[in-house]
Structure formats: structure tokens, C-alpha cells
């Protein structure tokens, strides 16, 4: 069976343009439609009620205002309702939830109340940003030591690309960003590099004794050599996460959505962003510049 050969590097400007347009949309969304931050970041209460027998959203709203939560945001889930309010006092939030549950005849075993104080959110945000910064440094250090700094930098560019696209999609869709989203995002940072590392490994292997073709062509060969595993590892990571998105219930869906977008973008960027950027950078090295000249002349 002959494997198809795709000229990724030759089409790299198309790939970059595509990435650029998507990034532009993502960044534009972030600017014009600020992220819908969950109560964890700004303080407030989320009341989750499940097994609500036959109540309509209006009934839930009126139960909420009767319980002392005027103008509550009510969201329907497949098994009940989620009510959000700006209440930051723990004891009153619990009382409101209990009152609502009583009105709607929801058992105490079927409700969940989360209350976040006003200043706690900045703590969570800072902790996440710190984790993000240290993650990136750790990744840069690891790749620089095991491979080389040019791979580290282009790899990190690709993962920032993935993170920006994921966040941009959250902004575009107005999806709520929770600490789980942040965790998923941070995980993507590591995981989106999985494919990139596989490609880099192959490029490094093929770089030894490179003399018969340009660096760019060799990189393209490398991409094609790992194409089958790129597709299969991508699928085998995506399938479980998509199952989580479809069947995992409300809280896990939160995780799964960010992971799905991030994995897709990560798979794409390892081929379309990290590898071509790295190859372009390497071609500027005198050794590979000479190769380029040699083969350009031959053509």
C-alpha cells in the first residue's frame, strides 16, 4: 500500500494563513466579547438542583425570587436546573438554596451549593497564572535540554496558539470559564506538545547526516513518515475526551470541551505551526542555507 505524500511545508503559507485567520477571530472575540468568567473568579453562588420533577424554568425563577434571589440566572440542564446569584455570604446562600429546594420539592441529597467569597477569585486566578508561567518555563527547559532551544521556542509558540484559540472559542460562544476550564487549558499546554514531540523526534533523527536534500524537504518527509501515528494518537486521545463531552454530565463537560478544542488545535498546530516554523528557522543556519543553495542551483 502506498502512503499518500503531502507537501505540508510547501503549503506552509496557507497553513499559517489559516492559523492566522483563526487566531485573529479568537483574539477578536477575546477583545470584543470578554470571557464569561464563572463565579469562582468573581464571587457568588451557584445552586445546582437535580431530579426536579416537572418544574418549568419560570417556576424555578419564581422559587428563586421567593427565596430571596431576585433576578437569578437560571439555566436548564438535562436533569434539573442551575441557578446563579451574586450572593457571597455562605450561610444565606445555603438558606436560599434550602428554601428553593423546599418550594420545588427537591431532596437535600439532590442539591449542590457553591459559594465563593469576593476576594477568593483573584487567588484562584493568580494561582492559575503562576501555574501557567511555571508550566511554560518547565516545558521550555525540558525541550531545550533534551532537544534544542529552537524546538522549545517553536513548540511553545504552537501551544500558545492552541491556548489562544481555545480561550477565543470560549469568548466567542460565551461559555462560562471555570477553574476546571483553566485546568484543562493548562493540561493542553503539555498535551498539545505530544504530537509536536513525536514530529521533532523524527526530524532530529533525520537531521543526522543530512546532505541529500534541504532541511525543509527533510522536515516534510519527517511529517509524512509520522503521519499515521499522528492521526492515530490524535484519535485515541480525542475519542475518550469526546465521550466525556457527550456522556460525562455537566461538570465534566466543562473539562471535556476545553480538552477537545485544545487537542484538535494541538494536533493541527504541531504539523501546521511548530514544524514549519522550526524548519524555517533551521534553514537560516549556514549549514542548511548551503544545502538550500546547492539544491536551488541544481533545480
Amino acid at each position: 500500500m502506498r502512503r499518500p505524500y503531502i507537501d505540508f511545508m510547501g503549503k506552509r503559507m496557507w497553513l499559517f494563513s489559516f492559523s492566522g485567520v483563526v487566531l485573529l477571530i479568537a483574539l477578536g472575540s477575546l477583545v470584543f466579547r470578554p470571557l464569561n468568567l464563572g463565579i469562582e473568579f468573581k464571587g457568588g453562588t451557584v445552586i445546582t438542583l437535580t431530579n426536579v420533577s416537572g418544574a418549568t424554568i419560570e417556576q424555578v425563577r419564581s422559587a428563586a425570587s421567593a427565596a430571596g434571589i431576585p433576578g437569578a440566572a437560571v439555566q436548564t440542564t438535562e436533569r434539573g436546573f442551575i441557578v446563579r446569584s451574586t450572593e457571597t455570604k455562605t450561610v444565606s446562600a445555603e438558606a436560599q438554596a434550602a428554601a428553593m429546594a423546599a418550594t420545588l420539592k427537591v431532596a437535600s441529597t439532590d442539591r449542590q451549593v457553591s459559594t465563593i467569597g469576593p476576594e477568593w477569585g483573584s487567588n484562584i486566578t493568580n494561582a492559575s497564572l503562576l501555574a501557567l508561567a511555571v508550566s511554560i518555563i518547565a516545558i521550555l527547559a525540558y525541550i531545550s535540554i533534551r532537544f534544542e532551544y529552537k524546538m522549545a521556542v517553536t513548540g511553545v509558540i504552537a501551544l500558545l496558539h492552541d491556548a489562544a484559540i481555545t480561550l477565543g472559542l470560549y469568548a466567542l460562544l460565551g461559555r462560562e470559564v471555570t477553574p476546571n476550564t483553566v485546568a484543562a487549558l493548562l493540561t493542553i499546554l503539555g498535551y498539545s506538545l505530544y504530537d509536536t514531540i513525536v514530529v521533532f523526534h523524527r526530524i532530529r533523527e533525520n537531521t543526522q547526516n543530512l546532505s541529500k536534500k534541504t532541511f525543509m524537504d527533510m522536515a516534510n518527509d519527517s511529517l509524512n513518515q509520522v503521519l499515521a501515528r499522528w492521526i492515530n494518537t490524535g484519535l485515541s486521545s480525542l475519542i475518550p475526551v469526546i465521550c466525556l463531552l457527550l456522556f460525562g454530565g455537566e461538570t465534566l463537560r466543562d473539562f471535556a470541551f476545553a480538552l477537545t478544542v485544545g487537542l484538535l488545535s494541538g494536533a493541527y498546530s504541531s504539523v501546521a505551526v511548530a514544524s514549519p516554523l522550526y524548519a524555517m528557522w533551521k534553514e537560516r543556519e549556514p549549514r542548511y542555507l548551503a544545502l538550500r543553495k546547492k539544491f536551488a542551483a541544481a533545480k
Binding site: D110, L189, C243
Partner: protein, 540 residues
């Protein structure tokens, strides 16, 4: 040792690992049941696993150590969660008493019943259920239900003050009588995380956690006679039932030190008081010591110590002796010195989760993970055929070892599965499949390059494992900061993922690689089509 033996040894190692993991996952559940005789006093029987006797007492159910004659809330108590929050005091029963309380199991009054895990039974007006314990993976609060609170100081507090606040919070939480409650410092000592699994009366618990922290000294003799007998450590005094003669603010220092008394070795707590405290203390001890009367020290109404007065203390400097361990003495000293909360705490995050809600999420999460696992396994079998079947063993072993490690960590109290943890497990399934894919692809590629099945097996699997080592390491490197710096359940996600990565690489080295090499010796060469390497060179 030749390389062939090494491969067999690696697989043998995996088998040992699998057996070990299975032992943890499927502990021999003997007939852990308790028979009860209604209307008789000693309706009790030994639970094999816990070596404790559970029996009826006047106030409820007590637990008796096999060697001890008195009913105490020990080991087994952790397996019994009461479904009413107020019953905690009944556990503190000092003697086995005849009782004729009717016992109801599943709504019917019975004379004797076999209680297995999960059975709910009621004694008097309280209901209990015997919880399964010891095996499998601990569930976090978001899955089993309960109350989780994060308290932070209103103004930044130093570590010492937070440490004191932690001790006080611990005392309060213990007073609630919730089994498996945890109190710990988080976020660089700037937050206290309180977790009360299974608690029903969330508002009551919040009131207790949020109170001011009052240390009181009470003469036991001044209490009503019925209460006097119940003054033991941990007993929660009914509100308004006592009148303190002194409060904690008179104490200037309290230290734990090794006992100076040769006759009573161990640790003691030495206490100094200010002038007004010294005067009151002198008066009370002078009055109490002839009868050896006791003085109860209460923190927010809960007895933390109730020493007898051995002498009149007029100088204020007091030693509280007892059979303290160093740890107990240190704790008591800390409570004495910092009865009132040294920092102004506020609720920063509160989460009340109904138990059925959590179990629903768990069920959905596990279903989703299993479906994902099945589809990936099916895909691998269809795409890689022979190797796909091999990957089933790899993935199966991965699952067993992974869950085994999680349950060992659970048993050591180091791990609790949370919802984000399920996401971590799901992602790890993908990672494990990735490693197998890298190995098979590389193998097929080397065959295509003209290597023989045997030659390709050795170099191919080695290269593939090196690749996945780097790829996994990068994921691992990004999970570490998440584990260290993130707050709350996200930590659990990072830990789950890190453990998954380690398990994945272990299986790749102990099983997948040796298995491919061993299969390459004869089998693959015989049926190359089944392994997708048709047209391979033939081994000499």
C-alpha cells in the same frame, strides 16, 4: 542473563504488579456482617476486618475494641456514618448498658439481622448505615457529597497564626462528630480547607465552623450530675449547661515538655497565667484539690481536657499531666495558648454537595470513560489487528495497575477521586493508547525499511519508547506546576494525570516492548498479515 530472559523477567514483573494491584482492588470481602439480637444487651459480634465489636449502648451504638471492655468510638466508627448530624454525642458512651431499643432494618423491626455493607439500620430514633471501607478508591467530596469550606484570613496572617487557627478548627470539626472529616492548610498557609463528607446539616456545621473560638474553664463539680459523668475529651457540652469561672485570655504561655516527674513519664503541658488568672486559679484549685475535683477546659463548648486538681496552685504556673504523647501535649498547649482564633477568618469558598448528585456525576463520568476506552480498544483492534489485540492486554494491564496505584494511595490517605480526577483518568487512557500506537507504528515502519521482524522489534520498540518518554515527560512537566500551585480539585486532576503517565510508561517497558520482541521471535514471521507487516524480510 540474555535479552530473552530479560523480556520474560519484565513480563513476570508485570504479572507480580498486576496481582498486587488486584489484591488492593479486590480485597477479600469476608462475610463482614454483624448480627443483632433485639432487646438484649450484648447483641454484638466481631467484624473480621476491623477486629472490633459493635454493640448496643444506652444511647445508641458503641464500638468496643476486642481487648477493651468499654464501648468507645474507635476504628469501626469510621465505617459507620450517621445520617443525623446530632447523634455524635451518643458515641461517647463509657459503659455497655443493657438496652431494649428496637432495632429496625429496612423499615421492619427485627430480632436479629445480618448487616452487610450499605445496610441502613435504625436504633431508637437514629439511623445508621454500615459503609463499605478498606477497598477501592476513596471518593472526593464532590462525588460522595458533603460540605467543603475554604476559610481565609481577612488580612494576611503569618504561618504561626494560621497553624493555631488550624488546631482550633480541627477541634471544632472534631466536635461535629463527622467521620473522615479533614482540616488542612492550603495555598501557602493562607487558607484552611475543611472537608466534611456526608454531613447533612450544612447550616449547623457552618455555624460551628464560623464561630468565634471561646476557651472556657469550668468546675466539673458545678455541672448537673447527669452531665458530670459525660465530661470526657471530645464531649460537646449542651449550650448554656455550664458556667465558666475563667476564660482563655488569662493564659500567657502554654508549652509542651517532657515530664519532670519520674513516676509519670511522658509529656505534660506547662501553663502560665496573668495576675487576674493566677488569683482566680489559686482560689479554684485551693477549693478543689482536697477532693481531687476536676476542671474541664472547653473550646467552644467541647471538652479538650478535664484534669483533676492535685494541689493548690497559687503561683499561676501549672502543669497539666496525663498520659500525653508528645503530639497530644503539643496540641493541648496550642489550644490553651490560642483559644480564640488568632486570625479573623472568612468563608472564601463553600460547597455543599448532595450525595446522590455526586454519585450521578460519578456514574456518568465512569460510563463516559468506559465508552471511550471501549471505542479506542475497538479502533486499535481494527487498525492494528494482531498488535491491536496486544494493545488490549497493554491497556487492560494499564487500567488495573493505574487503579491499583490510585487505591493504594487512597488507602494511605493521599488520594481522593474527584470529578476532575475522572477527566484525568480519561486523558490518561488516551495517553496509554498513544504509547502503544507509537510502538506499533515504529515497528511497522522498520519492517517497511527492510528489517526482519526480529531486528525491527528490538530497535523499533526502543526508539518508540524514547519518543513517548519525551512526549509524556512534557505533559508531566506541565502537570507538576498545576499540582503545586493550583488550588482545590484541580490538584487532583494533575495528580491523577501524573500517576497515569508513570503507569503508562511502566506498562510500555514491562509489557508492550518485551511482548513485541517475544512475538517477533516466531509468531509475527509466521503470520505477518495478521500483524500488518506483510512482505517483511525473513529472519535468518
Amino acid at each position: 542473563m540474555d535479552s530473552r530472559q530479560k523480556n520474560y523477567l519484565a513480563i513476570a514483573g508485570l504479572v507480580v504488579l498486576l496481582v498486587g494491584a488486584l489484591l488492593f482492588l479486590l480485597p477479600f470481602k469476608k462475610a463482614d456482617s454483624v448480627s443483632w439480637q433485639a432487646g438484649t444487651a450484648s447483641g454484638s459480634s466481631t467484624l473480621k476486618e476491623s477486629k472490633a465489636v459493635i454493640g448496643l449502648t444506652a444511647d445508641g451504638i458503641g464500638v468496643q475494641a476486642a481487648a477493651d471492655s468499654s464501648m468507645k468510638p474507635i476504628a469501626l466508627l469510621e465505617r459507620i456514618t450517621d445520617s443525623t448530624a446530632t447523634v455524635s454525642a451518643s458515641w461517647r458512651v463509657s459503659a455497655t448498658t443493657e438496652s431494649t431499643l428496637p432495632i429496625t432494618v429496612r423499615g421492619a423491626v427485627v430480632k436479629s439481622a445480618e448487616l452487610s455493607y450499605g445496610t441502613t439500620f435504625t436504633v431508637g430514633s437514629s439511623s445508621f448505615s454500615l459503609q463499605e471501607g478498606g477497598s477501592s478508591i476513596t471518593q472526593g467530596l464532590d462525588l460522595r457529597g458533603g460540605l467543603s469550606v475554604i476559610l481565609t484570613p481577612k488580612k494576611a496572617a503569618d504561618a504561626v497564626a494560621m497553624q493555631r487557627a488550624l488546631v482550633i478548627m480541627n477541634t471544632r470539626v472534631n466536635g461535629l462528630g463527622v467521620s473522615e472529616a479533614t482540616v488542612q492548610l492550603e495555598n501557602d498557609n493562607q487558607a484552611i480547607l475543611v472537608q466534611l463528607p456526608g454531613v447533612r446539616d450544612a447550616r449547623g456545621a457552618l455555624d460551628v465552623i464560623g464561630q468565634a473560638g471561646q476557651l472556657a474553664f469550668v468546675e466539673v463539680a458545678s455541672l448537673p450530675t447527669t452531665l458530670q459523668a459525660q465530661v470526657v475529651d471530645g464531649f460537646k457540652m449542651p449550650a448554656g449547661s455550664y458556667k465558666p469561672f475563667m476564660t482563655g485570655d488569662v493564659i500567657t504561655t502554654a508549652n509542651a515538655k517532657a515530664s519532670s516527674n519520674v513516676a509519670r513519664p511522658g509529656y505534660e503541658v506547662s501553663v502560665s497565667m496573668n495576675a487576674s488568672g493566677t488569683a482566680t486559679w489559686a482560689e479554684v484549685t485551693t477549693r478543689s484539690f482536697p477532693t481531687g475535683a476536676r476542671i474541664a477546659i472547653l473550646l467552644d463548648g467541647t471538652v479538650v481536657s478535664a484534669p483533676s486538681v492535685n494541689e493548690a496552685i497559687t503561683g499561676g504556673d501549672t502543669s497539666i499531666t496525663g498520659n500525653f504523647t508528645a503530639e497530644e501535649a503539643r496540641k493541648l498547649a496550642m489550644i490553651l495558648q490560642s483559644g480564640a482564633l488568632p486570625v479573623d477568618l472568612q468563608f472564601s469558598q463553600t460547597e455543599v454537595v448532595g450525595p446522590t448528585l455526586g454519585q450521578d456525576s460519578l456514574y456518568q463520568g465512569i460510563t463516559a470513560a468506559l465508552i471511550g476506552f471501549a471505542i479506542v480498544a475497538l479502533y486499535l483492534a481494527l487498525y492494528y489487528r494482531g498488535f491491536g489485540l496486544l494493545s488490549w492486554i497493554s491497556l487492560g494491564s494499564f487500567a488495573v495497575v493505574y487503579l491499583g496505584v490510585l487505591s493504594v494511595l487512597s488507602g494511605a490517605g493521599q488520594y481522593a477521586l474527584s470529578l476532575p480526577g475522572i477527566a484525568g483518568i480519561t486523558l490518561s487512557i488516551g495517553l496509554a493508547a498513544d504509547t502503544s500506537i507509537l510502538i506499533f507504528e515504529r515497528y511497522k515502519e522498520e519492517i517497511a525499511m527492510g528489517r526482519t521482524p526480529r531486528a525491527a522489534a528490538k530497535s523499533g520498540t526502543k526508539h518508540a519508547i524514547l519518543t513517548s518518554l519525551d512526549a509524556d515527560a512534557v505533559t508531566f512537566a506541565s502537570a507538576i506546576p498545576l499540582f503545586i500551585f493550583a488550588i482545590g480539585p484541580v490538584k487532583g486532576f494533575a495528580l491523577t494525570l501524573m500517576i497515569g503517565i508513570v503507569c503508562d510508561l511502566t506498562i510500555a517497558m514491562l509489557f508492550t516492548r518485551p511482548a513485541v520482541i517475544l512475538l517477533a521471535e516466531k509468531t509475527i514471521g509466521k503470520i505477518p498479515g495478521f500483524f500488518g507487516v506483510k512482505g517483511s524480510a525473513v529472519d535468518a
